[in-house]
Amino acid sequence: MGGRDTDIVLLDENGIRCDGRKVNETRKVTIKAGVLKNANGSAYIEFGDNKILVGVYGPRDVHPKHMSDTDTGILRCRYHMAPFSVGERKNPAPSRREVEISKVIKEALEPAVMLKEFPRTAVDVYMEVLQADGGTRCAALTGASVALADAGIPMRDLVAGCAAGKAADAVILDVNNEEDQAGQADLPIGYMPNLKKITLLQLDGILTPEEYKQCIEIGIDGCNQVYEIQKKALQDKFFANGEKQ
């Protein structure tokens, strides 16, 4: 929350946000599974103006060997932004922010992936942000779940991502870039709708205990909506494969 001074009206008198949405509405989300040729699984997600490409490789051997685990598979995640994905050109070297988000997403996916099924090996999830617009970590997590499923990795559930937050003193769903910059709080959530577990949770900003509760509730609603789009993307891929046969 930059708390940046700005003239932007985040919420008008009719409860409409700066991009025309209502407080409990997500941006438009479209997901396409199986978009890369070489990757074992992949997905392309547009989450508002976020554009993210995810590729999954594995299960595959681990080098060096001592990094592998005889009892379980390991999940490795890389969240990375293209230099042209943000307003001012980003240095291509991974930033500390990217290192942290990679770790947070990894720990959000681990509860969903049945790692014990592929001991001694690794599954690599590479998330490439081509265009960023606030909420990239939720979008990347959402796409990563689809790409993992597309790769045929055994999973307990999909993890859907959607942020809740606070702007102009209202609790809102799916914080966009302007709301992230000028708003009061951003609370990204990763959620497994079937298992009803929150696996990613962070917060920038200030919330009262009551607002915190409301944010979690509205955020879970958002994740449930995103979940339907994830499932549809996988069905489309499966159906398209069926057609080809």
Partner: protein
């Protein structure tokens, strides 16, 4: 199964069995932090400093203050940066070399807890708008690691910043010049305090030791401010929380945090 895993498994079983009886290995309540000791001014040459001992976890935070050229879009505010490193003296597993993802996360969570709380009124830390501002660097050095570094760094940072002395600077020929022996109090608005909880099986415990840490399923760090509002969150670990658990965690963090805040206040 590797040896390390077998030991972890045994340790987990032992801890879980006790938790089922409502007990923790070291006798604490589930919502009880370990004893916290704050020693201020342990690095007298720094502008502020504190040693936080949380059980057997120990962190030294030092505050350095110097004028900085502000970034173009934040010329009306001072700068505040917190970092953290795990010194190799702290634990046999601590590594020298570039920071691991664990350490990067520790540093960023520590920084966010202080910064997002608005602990300092940064608008009061401007020497000349767009030209020179006060920069406050709070570096945390973990010297002994018995788990829950998040909270130990939070307490050391809050205590060190809360008790620092800001040197006076005057602008001369467009450059800041230090006025010897003149200091002001930091513009503190609130005292952020983080409380980390581990989920082990169905149980949630506050301030996990290194043994609890190594076998937990998931963790959450919740930072609250003096008003009892939530100002930062970080979930970790390889499992998730239900919405109900997260509400309960926020209540635990407000309650445990209030006690910690008193200790930090009284240390000054």
């Amino acid at each position: 199964m590797s040896d390390g895993l077998i030991i972890d498994q045994l340790k987990r079983n032992q801890i879980l069995d006790l938790l089922k009886e409502g007990k923790r290995v070291d006798g604490r309540e589930f919502d009880e932090s370990r004893q916290l000791t704050i020693d201020l001014n342990v690095i007298p040459k720094a502008e502020g400093s504190a040693r936080a001992r949380l059980g057997d976890t120990e962190v030294v935070a030092g505050v350095k203050i110097q004028p900085e050229r502000p970034f173009p879009d934040t010329g009306d505010k001072g700068m505040l940066i917190c970092t953290a490193e795990i010194l190799p003296i702290a634990h046999p597993s601590a590594e020298t070399g570039p920071p691991t993802p664990d350490v990067v996360e520790l540093a960023r969570v520590t920084d966010r807890g202080i910064r997002e709380s608005g602990m300092l009124d940064m608008k009061q830390l401007v020497l000349e708008k767009d030209k020179s501002v006060i920069g406050i660097f709070c570096d945390n050095a973990v010297t002994d690691h018995d788990g829950n570094l998040f909270d130990a760094c939070s307490y050391a940072s809050t205590a060190a910043i809360n008790s620092c002395k800001i040197p006076k600077y005057e602008m001369q020929d467009d450059a800041p010049v230090k006025v010897e022996e003149q200091f002001t109090e930091p513009p503190v608005t609130t005292l952020p305090v983080s409380v980390t909880m581990a989920k082990i099986g169905e149980h949630i415990v506050v301030d996990p030791t290194i043994d609890e840490w190594s076998i937990m399923d998931a963790r959450i760090t919740i930072t609250t401010n003096s008003d009892g509002n939530v100002v930062a969150l970080q979930k970790g670990g390889h499992d998730g929380f239900t919405a109900e658990e997260l509400i309960k965690c926020s209540e635990m963090s407000i309650k445990a945090g209030a006690k910690i805040r008193e200790i930090i206040k009284q240390s000054k």
